[in-house]
């Protein structure tokens, strides 16, 4: 009755079967422990939200408004005390080893109270993810164990990603653009390492971080082939902080300027460069884009979660207002138009959430955390005592062979269709969920009218916070183009992207 011949060919047609079944394919392969871990993470996030985030979000926003140089160390220390900065670091590297997709749920939860505080946690993992994207296991171990030690000592050790430059924002996230970009952060090859000069701007959590995973270029005229990823500590000679940006919203999360003046980075702190790339199959420029795609596919799901969180926060404020405010003689919640507006907002939240969930299914199958989701590895890491891991496994990660093996798996063995799939989904989630966040914030203000513009009613803060989500981690316009490139343009050979 059913024809089986030719299925593969039929299913390769757009929309491709593999693209639309990430969740279906994942379900049977996913360890059951992922569910219980996620449940635990959401509960932790909700407690943090109720005890810390919601009571202090407005106060933080106001403090930063009053004093733009204020740094929220108290909140960072509280998050550190609760183990949030090593919660998603694998046990192999000294962390608590919770599964990475659960981070997105956490960011949504915290983001529903305050996107800035959610960033104080989430952006740290952008730095971690970038470090992991290099698969330099020795450096990964060094830095992530610093983070874990910071948790034990009570002195937070955060990691930031420093990529954006004054003359190049979006350009730095796309290979086709970076080759024509005006980058200025020069990593000059010198004996024993690199000498770095230049500035990075808009670096989230910059002033709060100990390590900065910094992207420089050894040839400013050819950045695509000469990217250098380095780990730079705040106390290194030649490194200093510039100003904190004065932002419209997300005030509680500093956006910093980082200044490099003849900052010497020894070889042991070089995460990845062209010399290291020479051992692998693809050319440097291709691997650079692969690394960026691994990182962005994970981080853009996180930004999708921020967007979902702020969409939910705006919806919750609008619902609260509608339940307690009389308009034209009856509660707003009993006006039919208001009910439809609230339903629209609820829908925006639900679809935004589904977008980051599906992206994380893709990442679990094909992206940054695919090895960690392999059942034997997942359960071994979950139940093996930390002392056993430290005694027998940790020494292995310092071996060049381990770095080489992971890079073989992640660089050479990853198929182009796989990173197109994760990258495409991540971009879809990023712009869909952040557009939903901004839209819901506007809808909340529309529904609340004059009360909505008051800061003490929270909705206006959500609106200010939400707008940044449409800009960072690649503008939503760039993400649309990336979706086109990954999921549409590949089947239209005549299509040329970034060649308008």
């Amino acid at each position: 009755m059913f024809a089986h011949d030719g299925n593969s060919e039929v299913l390769e047609r757009e929309p491709r079967f593999d693209d639309i079944t990430c969740s279906l394919r994942s379900v049977s392969k996913l360890p059951r422990g992922v569910f219980s871990e996620t449940r635990q993470v959401i509960a932790e996030a909700r407690r943090f939200n109720e005890e810390v985030v919601r009571p202090r979000a407005l106060e933080l926003d106001r403090k930063k408004h009053e004093d733009p140089d204020y740094l929220p160390w108290d909140l960072v220390e509280e998050a550190n005390r609760r183990g949030f900065y090593s919660m998603f670091i694998p046990k192999l590297f000294g962390g608590h080893g919770m599964n990475m997709p659960a981070l997105s749920y956490m960011l949504e939860e915290i983001g529903s109270g305050c996107t800035a505080i959610s960033n104080l946690v989430g952006v740290h993992y952008l730095g971690i993810a970038t470090l992991c994207g290099s698969w330099n296991t020795r450096l990964m171990n060094k830095i992530m164990r610093d983070v874990a030690a910071g948790e034990k000592s009570g002195k937070p050790c955060l990691v930031s990603l420093a990529i954006t430059e004054p003359g190049a924002g979006t350009d730095t996230e796309e290979l086709e653009l970076i080759s024509r970009a005006k980058v200025t952060c020069h990593a000059e090859r010198v004996p024993g390492g690199y000498r770095v000069n230049g500035r990075k701007i808009f670096i989230s959590n910059g002033h709060l971080s100990t390590w900065h995973i910094t992207i420089g270029y050894s040839d400013l005229d050819n950045p695509a082939d000469t990217m250098v990823m380095m780990a730079i500590r705040t106390d290194m000679d030649g490194f200093s902080f510039g100003r904190q940006e004065h932002k419209m919203g997300q005030k509680g999360c500093p956006a910093s300027e980082l200044i490099f003046e003849d900052c010497f980075v020894p070889d042991e702190l070089v995460c990845f460069d062209a010399q290291q790339a020479a051992r692998y199959a693809r050319p440097m420029a291709k691997i650079t884009m692969q690394v960026l795609d691994y990182v962005l596919s994970a981080s853009r799901a996180g930004v999708g979660a921020f967007g979902t969180g702020v969409a939910r926060g705006a919806y919750e404020e609008a619902l609260r207002f509608a339940r307690e405010t009389e308009v034209e003689g009856k509660l707003l919640i009993n006006h039919e138009w208001a009910q439809c507006a609230l339903a629209e907002m609820y829908k925006n939240v639900a679809l935004a959430r589904l977008s980051y969930i599906e992206t994380n299914y893709a990442n679990g199958m094909y992206g940054l955390f695919k090895v960690l989701h392999y059942k034997p590895i997942f359960y071994f890491m979950k139940y093996a005592p930390q002392s056993l891991v430290d005694a027998f496994l940790e020494p292995l990660v310092d071996l060049d062979f381990v770095t080489w093996l992971f890079r073989k798996i992640y660089f050479d063995w990853q198929k182009e269709a796989e990173y197109e799939r994760t990258s495409g989904w991540a971009s879809l989630s990023k712009f869909s969920a952040t557009d939903a966040g901004e839209r819901n914030s506007e809808l909340a203000l529309e529904l609340m009218g004059g009360a909505g513009v008051r800061t003490d009613q929270v909705a206006e803060k959500h609106l200010r916070d939400s707008k940044l989500l449409q800009i960072y981690e690649g503008t939503n316009q760039l993400n649309r183009l990336n979706l086109f490139k990954c999921m549409i343009g590949r089947s239209a050979p005549e299509a040329k992207v970034f060649e308008d």
């Binding site: 106001r62 408004h65 009053e66 954006t164 003359g167 924002g169 979006t170 350009d171 086709e176 653009l177 024509r180 970009a181 005006k182 701007i201 808009f202 940006e245 004065h246 932002k247 419209m248 919203g249 009389e326 308009v327 034209e328 138009w337 208001a338 507006a341 901004e438 506007e442 203000l445 529309e446 529904l447 609340m448 009218g449 004059g450 009360a451 909505g452 513009v453 008051r454 800061t455 003490d456 206006e460 609106l463 200010r464 707008k467 940044l468 449409q470 800009i471 960072y472 503008t475 939503n476 316009q477 649309r480 183009l481 970034f498 308008d500």
Partner: protein, 376 residues
């Protein structure tokens, strides 16, 4: 707004733009820091001196006798540079217009004649709310026009700097309007209320404990007095939105011509150019609507007030959309206070919520149409 061939209006527009460029442009970011920075009192004094306050009032009331067109040009031109001062002018004009249209000439004469501080001549009003929903105050009659007012008035714009406020109070089935001496007994004024935009046009919450209020016009006639000024003030709202749109569009185009991405100016990438085009369409449409509205108001065409409601709703929504894209064109820079775009986005949202909930205003528009008021 297109001034047509009227040289006087064009000169007036240029004068206001010159004033805004000189007095507001360089200090825009600093002024917007209020209440964490000083209020721009020197600018208020200059604005008062050149006749921006009491803009539509007759000369006997220290006014400039502006018609709807001049008022719109004034507010639009100020908003093009910094909408906060336009918000001050708007609220003051709204409050005074209501009292004036309620046969309150003598009251205005008395209240405006005794002030000394530049902000004191201003009138405060809860201009972000629909007065019909102001249910927080009760009024007990004392003698003739005098009532004892008790309760709370939320978000009274200019309440922290004006000497007098006009407050709506629910009485019987409708609402009445009262003037209140803000330095009088029984008045409690909060710290400035932090808000989305128009930071230099501050608002406060006011508590009243048996405070003396003087009835404006007749009891229960607040809705009627408001209706008399609604057309002009809706036009004023639309003009403010339009001014913000022009400022955002101009900055976006200038930036797009300079900033490079992928090796060339972003204005040459078609998606950015299309965003700018969508901004241009909204801007031009709003510009034509406000110009036509002013013409019909000056000619007192039947039904022009209906058009003013449409104009305020359209321009309010369009300005939020346009300023949102205005930030986006500038990317990360657009989100920073060093540029004007983020402030315009916030100001646009604040202006859109003037005169009450937009959805309710939409419903009332339709109600009027269904009751027989012509739409076109």
């Amino acid at each position: 707004m297109k001034c047509g061939m009227d040289p006087e209006l064009a000169m007036f527009e240029q004068t206001v733009l010159d004033f805004a460029s000189k007095e507001l442009l360089d200090s825009r970011q600093e002024n917007d820091r209020f209440p964490f920075g000083p209020l721009f009192s020197d600018v208020l004094a200059k604005a008062r001196a050149v006749g921006f306050f009491s803009a539509t009032m007759p000369e006997e009331l220290d006014g400039s006798e502006m018609g709807t067109t001049e008022l719109c040009l004034l507010l639009e031109s100020l908003s093009r540079v910094d909408a906060s001062l336009a918000g001050v002018v708007f609220t003051d004009t709204l409050a005074k217009e209501i009292v004036y249209r309620a046969r309150g000439f003598l009251r205005l004469k008395e209240l405006t004649g005794k002030v000394s501080e530049p902000g004191g001549s201003l009138f405060a009003f809860p201009s972000q709310s629909d007065p019909a929903d102001c249910t927080g105050i009760t009024a007990e009659p004392e003698a003739e026009e005098s009532y004892a007012l008790s309760g709370k008035a939320d978000y009274v714009v200019l309440g922290g700097i004006a000497d007098s406020a006009v407050l709506p109070v629910r009485t019987g089935d409708g609402f009445s309007l009262f003037t209140v001496d803000l330095a009088g007994e029984g008045i409690g004024i909060s710290e400035p209320v932090l808000s989305l935009g128009l930071h230099a046009c501050p608002a406060v919450d006011i508590t009243l404990d048996g405070a003396s209020g003087l009835l404006v016009g007749d009891e229960g006639q607040g809705a009627e007095y408001l209706r008399r000024v609604e057309g002009r003030m809706n036009a004023a709202c639309a003009a403010m939105s339009l001014g913000v749109m022009k400022g955002a569009f101009e900055e976006a185009v200038a930036y797009a011509k300079e900033r490079q991405q992928g090796g060339r100016e972003i204005v040459n990438w078609s998606e950015v150019r299309r965003m700018l085009a969508r901004m241009a369409v909204k801007l031009k449409a709003a510009d034509m609507i406000v110009a036509e509205l002013c013409r019909s108001a000056e000619d007192n065409e039947p039904g022009w007030e209906m058009g003013s409601r449409v104009a305020a709703l359209f321009a309010g929504e369009a300005s939020v959309e346009l300023t949102r894209d205005g930030i986006q064109v500038l990317g990360g820079n657009g989100y920073m206070e060093d540029y004007g775009q983020e402030k315009r986005f916030r100001d646009a949202g604040q202006i859109r919520s003037l005169m009450g909930l937009a959805p309710i205003r939409e419903l009332k528009l339709m109600e009027s149409y269904l009751a027989g008021e012509p739409l076109y």
